[in-house]
Amino acid sequence: MNDIIKLLDKNGLVFAFLIVSVIMYASYYIGKKLTNNKIPGAAIAISVGLIIAYFGGDKGVASIPAFSGMAILGGTMLRDFSIVSTAMGASFTEIKKTGFIGLLCLVLGTLVAFIIGGAIAYLMGYQDAKSITTIGAGACTFIVGPVTGAAVGASSAVIAISIAVGVIKSIFVTISTPFLAKKLGIDNPQTAMIFGGLVGSTSGVSAGLAATDTKLVPYGALTATFHTAMGCLLCPSILYFIVHSFLP
């Protein structure tokens, strides 16, 4: 047994590929068969990740011997690298068609999520600038939260909350979009782009639109992709400075 643990630790990254692929397979299967695609496989997989992290230590599951490779696969370097690659799915020409309103959506969506998230965090007892900024950033997407948390130097516990905030947003968006689409007028590419830009959560938006009208998916996902970039740009910089000027 000890020999196997040693072997898995030595080949940590490869073992992490195996663990994550098993989690992904099981989650997408559950999402498809048990929830009828109401909850996206991605949201289930991320929740499974958070649940198994609970059984680890301060590095989550990577604190358990043999699982150390998860810290490489889920570490800052590979995470940022894969996030940057998703920008390939967005086209500058397309967003220019929505013009000024598209840009306004990205900025407003980030601001509204950040202000509401930060204000609630403050009311619920997080009163330092780093924590408020990180939780507010988590209200943008589960990417913006940890990127911001790392940049401003927030604690791992607060970063974990910011991811949880983003995951809950993603699940909530996915489930509620098909029910609210008519009321909110999401039945054309233009509104789908506005929806994606304001809400931001790429997995939630694309899964929610897929359940509403598959033709709208690329439009919503397009602006949602930019939302993460906008959040990563604004939250750890301008928005952090503003919060920091009011609070320690």
Partner: protein
């Protein structure tokens, strides 16, 4: 070759991070300010420019697209390595913030789609 795409991605990533680092130093903060955002913008604009000229071979593009399909698995690994035990002490924060912030964004959708219709008519 796929590695060309991975190389382009790596270049965007590093240039973005150098910019982010520079911005961080400018504001006397340890850490990277918006490096990921800069890298994404460089890739989007570069992709747009070279696609118009048809200068990106499909294989090169596939090298980048592979990593974009790895994005969710990497995020799964990331969430599995967080200090969840400590986060749960503030569990309600996550649920309340996640839902209220989303509803706030929802409320803006009808307002902005009206605005965009006016904008389109002009």
């Amino acid at each position: 070759m796929k590695i060309y795409g991975v190389g382009i991605l790596a270049a965007c990533f590093l240039i973005g991070h150098i910019l982010g680092d520079y911005l961080g130093k400018l504001f006397h903060l340890s850490g990277n300010l918006g490096g990921v955002g800069f890298a994404m913008l460089i890739l989007v604009i570069g992709n747009d420019y070279f696609k118009k000229k048809n200068k990106i071979p499909a294989e090169t593009e596939n090298g980048i697209l592979f990593w974009s399909t790895m994005y969710i698995p990497v995020v799964v690994a990331m969430s599995a390595t967080q200090n969840v035990k400590a986060a749960l002490s503030g569990g309600w924060v996550a649920i309340v913030v996640g839902m209220v912030a989303t509803i706030g964004c929802y409320l803006l959708i009808p307002v902005l789609s009206k605005l965009s219709k006016k904008y389109a008519n002009q």
